[in-house]
Structure formats: C-alpha cells, structure tokens
C-alpha cells in the first residue's frame, strides 16, 4: 500500500482567537479533502490530523512534536501564529521539516540563504506595510504628499504586531510622515485609551495590525470615538468577515489589505470544494463560510503545501511519497504560473508565485479591499512592495540572525540540493 502524504494541521478552534482560527482551519482541511477527492497528489493520497494550539506557543510546540513524525514525517507545518513560528524556526532545521508561514512569520525569513526551512510565501509584513503606504500615498497624490502627515499604527503588542514597525520607520525617514505607535495588549479587548489618543491626535490614517477580537474591538472603538473608518487600513489579518461581522454598518468604509485574494465565493476552487467536499457531506465547517476571506486563505495555504509536494515530485519521482526534505526543495523551487493557478481553480484569486534559494517569499503583490457593510469589495489595483527598500532590510536582519546563531549562509551547492 502506498504511503500517504501527511499534513499536520495546527489550528485554534477555541479561545480568544478562535473566530479567526476556525475559518482558516476549515479552508485548510477542506482543500486537503478536495485534493483527495481529486485523486491525491499525482495519486498520492493525503492524510492529515488537526492539533489544537489555542494560539499558545507551548501548546503549539507540543503539537509540532506530536505530529512531526507522523506518516513517515510531516510534510510541512503551518503554525498560523507568529509566536509558534518563532519557536518552530529553531526546531525545524533540526528535524528537517519545512515551515510555510503564508503572510505571517518573520519577515527576514524571506532570505532562504539563512532561513533554509522557512517559507513566508505570498508576502511578509514588510510587504504589507509597504503596500499600505503606497496605497495611502497614491490616495494623497504622491509620496511627497505624505510629508507632515500623521499615521498611527494600532498593533497587537507581540512580535506579530511589531513586525511592520521597522519598515514604517524606514519609510517615515524617507517621506517625512509622523508615525505614532499604539500598542494594544493581548487579547485586545481594551482599547479605550488607544482610541482616546487617536481622537486627541487626529492622525490622518490608522493602520491596524490586529488579530482576533482586537480587530472588531478597534472598529467599535473607532465608531465610538468617531474616527472615520475609511481612514483605517488593516493588515491582511485584520480584513476578514469575523472582524467586521458583528460591527456591521459601523465598519462600513473600513479598508484592509487582501493577501492577494479577498473573499472569493465565485472562484472555481470554491465551486469545486462545494461540489466535491461539501456536496458529499464532508465539509468541515458551515457552507456559508466557504469562499470567505480567511477560509480562502486556508485554502491557499494548503494549496501551497500541496504544490510544494507536487513540485518535489517533479524532481524526485511523480506519484511517490515525498519526504519533508524533498518537499522543502519543492517549496524552494515553486513555479506556480498563471496557467497552473488557473488549472487549480485559483484564477483571479492570486497571482503567480515562484521561489528560489534566495527568495522564499515568491510574490510581493497585494491589493486593498473595503467593507461595504455587507461584504468585502476590492477597492484598489495591485501593488508590488518596493524591494529596493525591503531587500536590504531583509539582508541585514538575516545576517544578524546568522551571526547570532553562528550560521553560514548557504552556498550555491547547497541551493542545488
């Protein structure tokens, strides 16, 4: 009997961040089910197991340890938590298991020369921050118009929330806007003073780097203090249905980045899921949720993992079980062009991604969507983050990390393996 490709699924379906964790997990699992419904990865069936982390690092580590050896070796881990990512970044190289942190995790892990096992595919927080600034400057009518403007960053007081700060500060130096940092303590239900400050300071824009209840709370407080929602821009983790659902009309006009995709109820992959998974009564969550923002992100995350396997099979043998190490190679050599995406049903959902030894990110594109009171609608063109600024920052941070860890940068030969 052929070995199945095992996907561990770290989820949080309870606790403070569950409202956001659940749809993501459902999307992730549904995609894996869809792969099996379509006959597996070139015939290799997929198996998976969920493990509840509760968004807590130590539980996440326990889950990792529990699942990493399953099915001959876990294909790839996607912790969906910056804290867990940090802990696993230390462990994965030893266990030789790749980590996908699509749209989160440490920004400098883009540098595959240092972070061999990390794959912050589809973009990092530095990209996100850069794109937001681009959008804002475009609205204002050019970078020079940002001079003297005030931008407040309301962020989750954790490594996750702090990630964009270096870039925002870098750009502030370049364009002369004033950056106001307003941390919000976990879990984020207490923001009265934060918004009082915003009301006092009247920044021109508020960037929201929240997760879970923090987002909806921020919107409610914005409403309560009369801050215009259309001046608020969330990161892609602050722009999904759970964030605005119970605020309803109060959130109208609020903008957030889309991690390429938004809510895509009409995409082909969603129809596939509805037909082949939900249609057979195997759907993981409620039907209405399929196609929503976080659900889509779950789908994409799972798809990236599966595509890593597929790419690896191209080199190491089609229709064979891939070891995590082989999958790592696959992830490092991803070449998801538009054609492949279309075939997968992701047409219009996301842009092509291709990775390399030096670049584990694969894409720097993003756009903005806006809540109209009922649903998310795209409200901008595509932007690409400015690598001229970000690349040196990545290099510098990665070098620091390497120095601290006494790691050598990978050489060309290593890149081939």
């Amino acid at each position: 009997q052929q070995q199945e490709q095992f996907f561990p699924v770290l989820v949080y379906r309870t606790g403070a961040y569950a409202p956001n964790g659940v749809p993501f997990a459902n999307g992730y699992v549904d995609y894996l089910k869809l792969v099996n419904a379509n006959g597996g990865i070139n015939g290799v069936k997929v198996s998976f197991e969920e493990c509840e982390t509760g968004y807590a690092t130590d539980r996440g580590v326990e889950c990792y340890e529990r699942l990493k050896g399953k099915g001959g070796g876990a294909t790839v881990f996607q912790p969906l938590s910056t804290g867990i990512t940090f802990a696993l970044t230390e462990k994965a190289p030893g266990d030789k298991i790749p980590l996908i942190t699509a749209g989160y995790g440490r920004s400098e892990s883009t540098d595959g020369n240092v972070f061999k096992w990390n794959f912050p595919l589809t973009g990092t927080y530095w990209d996100a921050a850069d794109v937001l600034l681009q959008h804002v400057s475009k609205k204002e009518g050019g970078w020079d118009k940002l001079k003297g403007k005030k931008i407040a960053l309301v962020y989750h007081d954790s490594p996750y929330g702090k990630e964009p700060i270096p870039l925002l500060e870098e750009r502030a130096k370049m364009h002369g806007y004033q950056l106001q940092l307003l941390p919000v303590a976990h879990p984020g239900v207490e923001q009265k003073a934060t918004w009082q400050q915003i009301r006092g300071n009247r920044p021109d824009y508020v960037f929201l780097w929240g997760w879970g209840v923090m987002n909806s709370t921020a919107l409610k407080e914005a409403q309560a203090t009369g801050y215009p929602r259309d001046k608020m821009y969330g990161v892609w983790w602050a722009g999904a249905e759970p964030d605005v659902k119970d605020v309803g009309d109060g959130a109208r006009g609020y903008n957030a980045l889309a991690l390429q995709h938004g809510a895509e109820p009409n995409s082909k992959v969603v129809k596939d899921v509805l037909e082949k998974v939900h249609g057979k009564g195997q759907g993981t969550g409620p039907k209405e949720e399929v196609g929503q923002v976080l659900y889509m992100r779950g789908l994409i995350a799972a798809m990236l993992g599966v595509e890593g396997v597929k790419r690896a099979q191209e080199r190491f043998g089609k229709g064979k079980w891939m070891s995590p190490e082989q999958v790592r190679w696959g992830l490092e050599n991803l070449a998801l062009d538009q054609k492949k995406l279309d075939a997968l049903g992701f047409a219009g959902v996301m842009r092509p991604i291709s990775t390399s030894c030096a670049d584990h990110r694969g894409s720097t594109w993003a756009r903005v969507h806006t809540w109209d009171g009922k649903q998310w609608k795209f409200s901008s063109d595509w932007y690409q983050s400015d690598d001229a600024i970000i690349k040196p920052m990545i290099k510098q941070a990665a070098d620091r990390y390497a120095a601290e860890k006494k790691l050598d940068r990978r050489n060309a030969a290593d890149c081939q393996s």
């Binding site: 580590v61 340890e65 529990r66 804290g83 802990a87 230390e90 920004s107």
Partner: protein, 358 residues
C-alpha cells in the same frame, strides 16, 4: 502488609533526619531517580522527551520555586511568570553579551537576576498580605511583560522583539538530542529539588512556615518577618528564574514575552495548589497534573470518541478537555483539599494499615 516501618528503629537523630526516613521510601525514590536517569533515556520516544518530559521537568522546577514562596512561606504570588521571564531574558543577555560565558553560568545568572527582581517585588509583602499581595505580584507580572516588550535592549534590538537561543552546550558537551536535553533539565531539577528540600527542613524553612502559619507568634520567638519573607522571595525567584531560562533555552528555543504571560503565573500557582501547598513532592504531582493531563486528554478523547463511534471535532475535543480538566480539579479537591501530595500521603498511610481497615 509489606509497607510498614515497624521494626525500623532509628538509632540516631541523623538517621531520623533523613529526607525519607522509611527504608522502602528511600529505595523507591532511589529507584525512581535511577530510572529517570538511565531507563527513561533508553525507552522514551522523541515526542515523550520534547513534548512531555522536558516541559514537565522545567515546570516542576518552576512549581518547586513557587511552592517555596506560596506553599512554605504563604505569600501568594501571581508573578511567577514574570520571574521566569526575567530569568530567561537575563540568561539570554548574559549569553550574548558576555563573551565565552558557559551556558550553565548564563542560566544561573538568569536566576540571580530573577532573585533581585523577586526581592524588589517582594518588598510590598512586608505590608500587604494574602490576596492583596497576589495583586501586588500581578503588578510585577504585567510590568515585566511590558518591559520585555518595550525595552529593546533586553531583546538585543531584534525588530520583532522575539529572541532565540541555540547551540546549547555544557562544558563542551553539546546538549543537542532530546534525550540530552532531558538529562540536562533532569540534572537541574534533581539538584534543585535536593537543595530545596534541605532548605525547607532546615531552620530557614521553619522560619518560612512559621511566618505563613502565624506571623505574630513567629515574631515573638525572634523570627524577622522581613528576612523570612524576602529570603523566600529570593530563593523562590531564583529557582523560578532558572526554570524560566531553561524554558526559553531548552524547551522553546525562541520566545517572546507571551511565553511567560500571566497565564503561566496562574498555571504555576495551580500546580502548587493542586499538587499540595508546602510539599516538594506536591510540586511534581501538580506539574504532572497540569502539564500532562490536558495533553493526555487531548490525545485520549479522539480515541474514546472513535471507540464509541462518535468522531469528535478538534474544537469538541478541546472543549471537552476544558470540561474534564475543570471537573477533575474540583473532584480532586473534594477528595483531598490539601492537594495530590496529601492524597498520596493518606494513601500511604492506608497502605501501612492494610489489610486492616484502621
């Protein structure tokens, strides 16, 4: 019938002052320690080590420290998480800022800094008591959480504020494999448990307990409340700090302040209460209960669900885990309010009487 100390006469006070005066106990403990050092590394799986044994050992150590303060000295503390954090961050800074410092020294220095912070935040205990003190220690907790997030120097200016440590080595011995890490932690735990046990059965331990039970009377027989309380804070936060350093270095590898959040403080307090206030042994029981039980439930419940033919969803499992865990806490408390250690002692006493009912 077998477990009885009849006929074991102690001929000297030295003999009576042993940690385990009963021969059977002594052998059992010795066997346990030997097993922990020799047998376990041979049989345990990677997962056992990394996900269960190592956290169990480290949190036992931390619980031990908390028990000294809370169980022996009676000063309720909800700041243990902060002291762990201080230990971890101080050890980290020692490691990166002092060239060539051995890792063990860094970890112990982490403990020393935790001691200092512990003493500072112990000062209110001279005036404030009981639950009121618990809140004072919460101030320590939240302040430290904040400081490690905000003061960039502590995290060596990493942009995200998360720090990491690797390449553990002990005088040239690279602590690499899970078994080695396990032994490393076990070594710490055994030594500290021994030292702690010595302390609590010496004069200083009696001072702590005296202060806990009746501070006015303690003062009247010449015990200085200030010295007793602050020394308890110092010893406790030293041990907790070391545990914190181990948690960061050995278990997590990379961490952020959230790893030592107030939840951790509560967790440690629960361990010592469930395990048994004022009992070294209780710290181990408590840690086992609080660390291992949820993991066990988490893995056992799906199996049970399969058995009865109702697959339980992940969410269902973790909710059930909460429910069962809560119910078990209550149940154990009703059976024995003084914690698992006391339950154990009562069990032994019954065994001693066995097969007679009383």
């Amino acid at each position: 019938m077998l477990y009885r100390e009849n006929g074991q006469f102690k001929t000297s006070y030295r003999a009576d002052l042993q940690i385990f005066p009963i021969v059977q106990d002594r052998w059992a403990i010795l066997a346990l320690v030997v097993a922990a050092f020799v047998l376990v590394p041979m049989v345990a799986s990677d997962y056992m080590f990394r996900a269960i044994l190592i956290p169990f050992l480290i949190l036992s150590l931390a619980a031990l420290g908390v028990n000294i303060l809370v169980g022996y000295c009676g000063q309720i503390s909800l700041g243990s998480g902060a002291f762990m954090a201080v230990g971890a961050y101080a050890a980290y800074n020692c490691l990166i800022r002092i060239d060539g410092i051995p890792m063990v020294a860094a970890i112990l220095l982490g403990g020393v800094f935790a001691t200092l912070v512990g003493i500072v935040f112990g000062i209110p205990s001279l005036r404030v008591r009981g639950l009121y003190l618990a809140v004072a220690t919460l101030a320590a907790q939240f302040f430290c959480d904040w400081a490690f997030l905000r003061v960039k120097w502590f995290t060596n200016y990493t942009p995200s504020g998360s720090v990491s440590v690797s390449n553990l080595n002990l005088f040239g011995w690279r602590v690499e494999t899970p078994a080695e890490r396990y032994l490393f932690c076990l070594g710490f735990l055994v030594i500290f448990a021994l030292l702690a046990k010595n302390l609590v059965r010496s004069a200083i331990g009696r001072e702590w307990m005296a202060i806990r039970d009746m501070d006015v009377a303690a003062a009247v027989i010449g015990i200085r409340p200030m010295y007793a309380k602050l020394s308890a804070f110092a010893v406790s936060s030293f041990i907790v700090g070391v545990a914190g350093a181990l948690w960061g270095f050995v278990y997590l590898g990379a961490w952020e302040p959230a790893a030592f959040s107030v939840d951790r403080s509560f967790q440690l307090l629960f361990m010592v209460i469930i395990g048994g206030l004022g009992s070294i042994m209780g710290s181990f029981f408590g840690a086992a209960f609080i660390v291992v039980l949820p993991i066990f439930l988490n893995q056992a419940l799906p199996a049970v669900g399969d058995l009865v033919g109702v697959p339980i969803s992940t969410a269902g499992i973790s909710h059930a885990e909460f429910i069962i865990f809560g119910a078990l806490i209550v149940w154990f408390l009703i059976v024995e309010p003084h914690g698992l250690a006391r339950l154990w002692a009562v069990g032994k006493q019954k065994l001693r009487l066995w097969p007679f009912p009383h």
